[in-house]
Symmetry: C2
Subunit: 180 residues, 2 copies
């Protein structure tokens, strides 16, 4: 169901970069990127070549994929990073297809922002601030939340998160259904 997520999990588990893996198996690094984001549907031969460099065989690879689907517990190092640019979103589970919930462990670096154009998507979301401070804007309401404070709103409402402080802000959030 999720070849890209499985490859990502196995690669990062081994501490390899996309380029290092690409070098070891003789595949273009861009191809690894596209596979991990499920943007392409790799051929069996190519996937075999990549997986051998892990090193692993295809039977083990797909067995691991099935294990992932039934995974219950995640070590801190196993959360999947899906953020970027100073905002870290570490997701519980690599493949959320068919799941109801998207849980994230978020860290906003100082002066980071989800952007001037407000976010909006179907569903509902909530979160609790663990440390630091965050300015949350939802529709026409705005608040600065600190440790222990929380939020909950309909994701259809335009919303925005900004860390206007000098400390990183750590939040644990949940959304239903998963949005990206």
């Amino acid at each position: 169901m999720d070849v890209g997520g499985t490859l990502y999990a196995l690669r990062t588990q081994r501490g390899l970069s996309q380029r290092e893996l690409a070098r070891r198996c003789g595949v273009a690094n861009g191809t690894i990127s596209l596979i991990e984001s499920n943007a392409i549907n790799p051929s069996v031969g190519l996937l075999r070549q990549i997986v051998h460099a892990l090193p692993m065989n295809l039977s083990e690879f797909f067995a691991f994929e099935h294990l992932e689907e039934r995974k219950l517990f995640y070590r801190a190092s196993e959360l999947r990073e899906i953020g970027g640019k100073g905002i870290s979103y570490r997701q519980i589970g690599t493949n959320l297809n068919g799941r109801a919930l998207q849980m994230l462990d978020e860290v906003y670096a100082p002066r980071t922002d989800t952007g001037k154009t407000m976010l909006h998507h179907t569903g509902e979301e909530g979160g609790v601030v663990i440390s630091g401070e965050i300015e949350v804007t939802v529709a026409d309401q705005r608040a600065i939340l600190g440790p222990g404070d929380a939020y909950y709103f309909d994701s259809n409402l335009p919303h925005r998160f900004r860390n206007i402080g000098k400390e990183p802000c750590h939040i644990v959030s949940a959304a239903t259904p998963p949005s990206f």
Copy 2:
């Protein structure tokens, strides 16, 4: 190493035709043919779709592939048919890559012939006639062989087999290295 052979073995094991399998998984029947002959390198997604119709998952599929590589014994029904047009060649083993020997259980229907243009390829080959009669021509020599008779020659010599009798002719043969 041999996705095509593995798919062939699993499909025929279940008594399915290429078209029946194609119908069940929603794939073009020609595609199944091309995969089985290793003429194309299917995508993971497509192979998954096909394998699910067997029904099986990819981990099991590739585990089976590894089993095949170490297979020692073959039931009569498991020999792989690689002949056609009245001449049956039933090969021991589906994938001969890296193997030294090609063993065949051959049946020539009455009035069949390997063709007017003589065969030739590197290696050596031999065989024993089990039943029926066969006319064997090698270079400038010709003989009619019956049950218990045998042949052995350098495959570089032009050769031809013709069943000129009224009974099917059954031969067990070996060649090294495998030629097709």
